[in-house]
């Protein structure tokens, strides 16, 4: 059963169809990438899932039941892109306060905060104030406050911004850990290489509509262009074949596009017949970044305002 099920969600603002009929489902324990250019409607979509906005139309099911923004907040941990903490408040108190707002009792909250502070080596921070922290340290604290109450659904909007590689990895490992323990994670970012690394499933949103949905591998297969790289001991002086065309050449390797109806074996056979020693042969799948650009390109960079008649 899917942990989260979003059905035909719509949210129209005065000048924009921010979210226009989006549906998707999330398997329990999966890490889900929510991608899209700026202003595509990701934040609005997330705000509906977290109960901050009410959808105009459509349905959100959490654990098979209609999502109840008042009672289900304890099951959700949300780290917004525009995030921050009370600057003048002590760090320990602040983390406890945020956990209490999620429904934990004071004693539970204190115990959890201590546990996480030890895990992230933050024990000495308890009586410091947020204004004393660097940006990266603040992000780390923010992450802890997001996952502290063991939410079933964790929504992270650009979680790595402002983190150095060491802390990035720390958070990345923790995200994987949480997913293994059964938490479902929605991960919204513009950094495609992170999505490829972390996510099992992605959707791409543009102009309020879903334009792509599938596992990372599926998506790549869907957009592959039959490109292969072939490494040869020595490139034959002249060769031509109807099986493929050469797209690029670098040192002793070629990038080729295999023609319709032909298979990699046909290509290999051709080179073997030519007495050329094949050193390597790889399928070249498009990167998510390429796919993203391909799909979004051509649509205006900044989303235009449109009049809405709903």
């Amino acid at each position: 059963m899917n942990l989260l099920e979003v059905k035909n969600l719509k949210k129209y603002f005065a000048t924009q169809k921010a979210v226009d009929d989006i549906s998707f489902g999330l398997r329990k324990g999966s890490i889900f990438g929510l991608l899209g250019p700026n202003g595509a409607g990701k934040t609005t979509l997330i705000r509906m899932i977290t109960g901050i906005f009410y959808p105009d139309e459509g349905e959100i099911l959490l654990n098979g039941k209609t999502f109840d923004p008042i009672n289900d907040v304890g099951q959700i941990g949300y780290m917004p892109e525009e995030r921050g903490l009370y600057k003048k408040m002590k760090i320990g108190e602040q983390a406890v306060y945020l956990a209490q707002l999620k429904g934990l009792s004071k004693a539970e909250a204190v115990a959890k905060v201590k546990e996480w502070f030890i895990k992230f080596e933050m024990q000495s921070w308890w009586n410091k104030k947020v204004e004393d922290l660097s940006k990266g340290m603040g992000q780390k604290l923010q992450f802890v406050t997001t996952v502290l109450h063991e939410p079933k659904l964790i929504i992270l909007d650009e979680p790595f911004s402002g983190l150095d590689p060491v802390n990035s990895n720390l958070i990345k490992d923790e995200i994987n850990n949480l997913a293994k323990k059964g938490a479902t994670i929605i991960f919204s970012t513009h950094r495609m290489e992170q999505v490829e690394e972390i996510c099992d499933h992605i959707i791409l949103v543009n102009k309020g509509k879903k334009i792509l949905d599938g596992s990372v591998n599926e998506v790549k297969q869907q957009f592959k262009e039959n490109l292969y790289s072939i490494g040869l001991e020595q490139i034959p002086v002249s060769f031509s074949s109807s099986h493929f065309e050469v797209i690029g050449k670098k040192d002793n390797s070629l990038v080729i596009k295999i023609g319709n109806g032909f298979r990699p074996n046909d290509v290999l056979q051709y080179f073997i017949q030519q007495n050329a020693n094949v050193v390597s042969f790889n399928e070249m799948l498009p990167s998510l970044s390429d796919i993203f650009i391909k799909l979004v390109e051509g649509t205006p960079l900044a989303r235009q305002f449109q009049s809405v008649t709903a």
Binding site: A14, R47, T50, G51, I52, Y54, P69, I70, V73, G74, I76, Y78, M79, P80, E82, R83, G84, L85, Y86, K87, K88, M89, Y97, L98, Q100, L101, K102, Q142, T145
Partner: protein, 433 residues
């Protein structure tokens, strides 16, 4: 409910624990006490400051004798064998602070009386001297008109009217000045509370927005709960502050006589030295206070403090949510909220003079002005139906404005980087959810 309580607790504790809270809470009463002490010190020292005034009486207006009224510490000395010109040069060196010159007078048209001094004479000193001269001239005129001054004194009347208030608990003596002072003070106090604590709410909301914590919080708490928790929490800070001030003032009143044992005695002595009529001023004031509906006033003060605070705090919260970062923007947006407060203050100053005028009645019923204006009227015991209507309207006003501002607040705190106008805020408020 539980979440409002959590927010409330945080808002309350973070403010009360601040060093600046302790500082203002303890310093303000000390400053007030210091102020009083200074006034007392001045009033005591002022009465012992005696002046030496020389009198050159060419008309023998005073017949060589000036009857100094009670409380006037000035010392008049008659000068002989001098002219105005000659004495002008030396009165300073002879130790006189000023010198009064009375030329030959036409008793029907007394002109040319002059008071020479090195520096301008104070208004009260000038008044005293004028009254002495007037008395002397009156006496002369009476003699000229063949009226016996003694007889005149016997016939002239000086009546004071005692205003008693007839209430169920019997008669009470009313003292207009006391009701006036209390009304005015209560009105000003509410006015200041609305501004100071309203601004505090606004800054609190802006802090949440500027620090970008608003979205984090509203993912666990409804915006309305957050707003209400903040407003009530800061209101509780205000009540705490007042409570501490009351206790401190009570304690200081107990302590002052111990530290300065002679002070009340001295004050009483100073007052006794004042010219007649004011001799029992303290007594009059305490009697005046007794005449006021104290119970009603305290109840109304608490009620209007809470009601007014809740209304204006929700308005200030809405403005705070619409401001992104710019202090100047905040000032522009708060202006429309400040206007009714200032208007209320102006009506209140009218109402204490004329508590039953139609403007005062309107002002004390309209929810945006009633907290201030009604406090200005309350000491004059306005009709019960007006008080009740005003309170009902205040509660309705509070519910209405909270409902309205909650909608603005909900949208505003998640808006970044855009300058919000009143028109847009109005759109958010009336949009159905």
């Amino acid at each position: 409910m539980n979440k409002i309580w959590l927010v409330l607790q945080r808002e309350y504790l973070t403010r009360v624990k601040k060093r600046s809270f302790l500082l203002t809470t303890i310093l303000v009463p000390l400053i007030i006490i210091g102020f009083y002490a200074a006034i007392i010190a001045i009033s005591i020292s002022g009465s012992t400051n005696s002046q030496k005034i020389a009198v050159l009486d060419e008309d023998s207006l005073f017949n060589g004798k000036i009857s100094v009224p009670n409380g006037d510490q000035a010392n008049y000395t008659f000068i002989q064998n001098e002219t105005e010109q000659s004495f002008k040069e030396k009165y300073k060196t002879l130790g006189y602070s000023s010198f009064l010159y009375v030329p030959k007078l036409n008793i029907d048209k007394p002109l040319g009386i002059k008071l020479h001094s090195q520096a301008a004479v104070s208004l009260s000193d000038k008044g005293k001297i004028e009254s002495i001269i007037n008395k002397a001239i009156e006496t002369k005129r009476m003699v000229a008109a063949q009226i016996d001054p003694e007889k005149y004194k016997a016939i002239s009347a000086d009546v004071t009217v005692d205003n008693t208030i007839d209430s169920a608990n019997g008669e009470k003596k009313a003292v207009a000045g006391v009701a006036y002072a209390f009304s005015f003070a209560a009105g000003i106090l509410i006015y200041m509370i609305l501004l100071i604590y309203g601004m505090m709410v606004m800054r609190g909301v802006m802090e949440e927005k500027v620090n970008r914590i608003a979205e984090v919080i509203v993912s666990s708490v409804k915006p309305f709960q957050l707003m209400l928790g903040k407003i009530i929490g800061i209101g509780a800070v205000g009540l705490t502050q007042f409570g501490i001030w009351l206790i401190l003032m009570f304690l200081l009143q107990l302590i002052i006589p111990v530290i300065f044992p002679g002070i009340f005695h001295q004050m009483a002595a100073a007052q006794a030295a004042q010219p007649g009529g004011q001799e029992n001023m303290l007594l009059t004031i305490s009697e005046g206070i007794k005449s006021l509906p104290i119970g009603l006033m305290v109840f109304c003060f608490v009620f209007y403090f809470l009601g007014g605070y809740l209304i204006y705090a929700s308005l200030f919260a809405a403005v705070g949510s619409a401001v992104s970062e710019d202090q100047q923007e905040a000032q522009q947006l708060t202006f429309p909220i400040m206007m009714p407060i200032i208007l209320a203050f102006v009506i209140m100053t009218k109402a204490v003079n004329d508590p039953n005028s139609s403007l005062a009645i309107f002002g004390s019923l309209f929810p945006l002005t009633s907290p201030i204006v009604m406090m200005g009227r309350i000491a004059y015991s306005p009709p019960a139906w007006q008080i009740i209507l005003s309170m009902v309207l205040l509660i309705l006003g509070f519910l209405f404005f909270t409902w309205l501002t909650a909608k603005i607040y909900r949208t505003g705190i998640l808006m970044y980087g855009k300058k919000i106008t009143w028109k847009e805020m109005w759109k958010w408020a009336v949009r159905k959810s």
